[in-house]
């Protein structure tokens, strides 16, 4: 049988993350803490990967629907954005594209430099 247990564990980690989030004096997203907890549980074999496999793959495959209500909620800000929607969109899109390109470039360059260094020493 496909047990409910892994889902319970995930929700439980979410709950622990929620508590930790309010205790830690530094703003770290709940989701990042929950992700770290899941990772730590897998790494220490407290929670074996096979047990999480099915539930995990299912949730990950459908993750993006969880953003739908938040995006629909945008409709209620239509008034706020009425006069600036075009520059607003241009800034968000352009900056995202630039960030993508610069990050990819930086990582590629770092990897190449590491390769060179590694190549020389060997």
């Amino acid at each position: 049988m496909h047990s409910l247990f892994p889902f319970g564990v995930l929700v439980g980690f979410g709950f622990i993350a929620h508590i930790l989030c309010s205790v830690i004096p530094f703003p770290i997203p709940e989701a990042v803490i929950a992700m770290l907890l899941v990772f730590a549980a897998l790494q220490t074999k407290i929670f074996p990967e096979e047990k999480l496999q099915r539930t995990g793959s299912f949730l990950l495959a459908n993750l993006s629907i969880c953003f739908l209500p938040a995006i629909v909620q945008l409709m209620s800000y239509a008034d706020l954005l009425k006069d600036i929607w075009l520059p607003f969109l241009v800034v968000c899109i352009l900056s995202t594209v630039v960030t993508f390109a610069v990050t990819a470039g930086t990582v590629s360059l770092t990897l190449r430099l590491m390769d060179k260094k590694g190549g020389k020493s060997s």
Binding site: F39, T55, I65, P69, L74, T99, A104
Partner: protein, 225 residues
């Protein structure tokens, strides 16, 4: 009719059906522009407008869908675990890439906002747009931004990453999976990461690592900038 749709079941059903239509269209066309989330968004909004249903009524079900965001994002830990040896080897590019990327996200946003003459409140609302919503709101309000505008900006950044990253990979001729994953996660948080996961295991995991690292880095940077 009003009494019927007043149940959370309405919002949940509408969301799932619209999302499934989106997934179906995406599978038929295979075009990244046919993003399931964007299609679902358009369908839900059209439906609500057509039948004159309030957002509050929809959100009764929407809240239930949103609830799953935390356990679902927690699963990204599984993704990271699956390629952990690769990540361990690449800690330096991850750190350098996410730091430079987060700086670029903030710098380019500030610069573009000034160029378009947007007000200070709007500029500060857009400041943290590349990180995940909860943390972005915290940073923005701290700086005198408007939370609801931040939510919008975060969504646009995420959708941009999800829709455009395959094109950017082609245009920039990127081959390295580490670079692709880190670029997606740094520029467009969890929403972009959903797209990275479709590209491959490694891209998805790198993107998950990048979204975590850049959230923390952006929080630190926002204290000094």
């Amino acid at each position: 009719m009003t009494a019927w749709i007043d149940s959370p079941l309405f919002g949940v059903t509408l969301s799932i059906l619209c999302f499934c239509v989106g997934q179906w269209i995406f599978q038929k066309t295979k075009s990244p522009l046919a993003n399931p989330l964007v299609i679902a968004f358009i369908l839900v909004v059209l439906f609500l407008q057509a039948f004159d249903i309030s957002l509050e009524t929809y959100q009764k079900g929407g809240d239930i869908i949103s609830f799953f965001l935390l356990p679902a994002t927690a699963c990204l830990g599984l993704q990271v675990y699956r390629v952990w040896p690769l990540i361990k080897k690449a800690w330096l590019p991850i750190l350098v890439g996410c730091t430079v990327g987060s700086l670029t996200a903030i710098g380019s946003t500030l610069l573009l906002c000034r160029m378009f003459g947007l007000t200070e409140a709007i500029t500060q609302s857009l400041f943290p747009k590349s990180v995940t919503t909860a943390i972005a709101i915290e940073i923005a309000t701290e700086r005198g931004g408007i939370a609801s505008i931040t939510v919008g900006a975060v969504a646009v950044a995420g959708i941009t990453g999800a829709m455009l990253s395959p094109f950017l990979v082609n245009v920039l001729k990127l081959k390295n999976k580490t670079a692709i994953g880190l670029a997606i996660g740094t520029s467009s948080h969890a929403l972009g990461t959903t797209r990275a996961m479709e590209m491959g295991k490694e891209e998805g995991a790198m993107s998950a690592v990048a979204l975590s690292a850049s959230a923390v880095i952006t929080v630190i940077l926002s204290m000094f900038l």
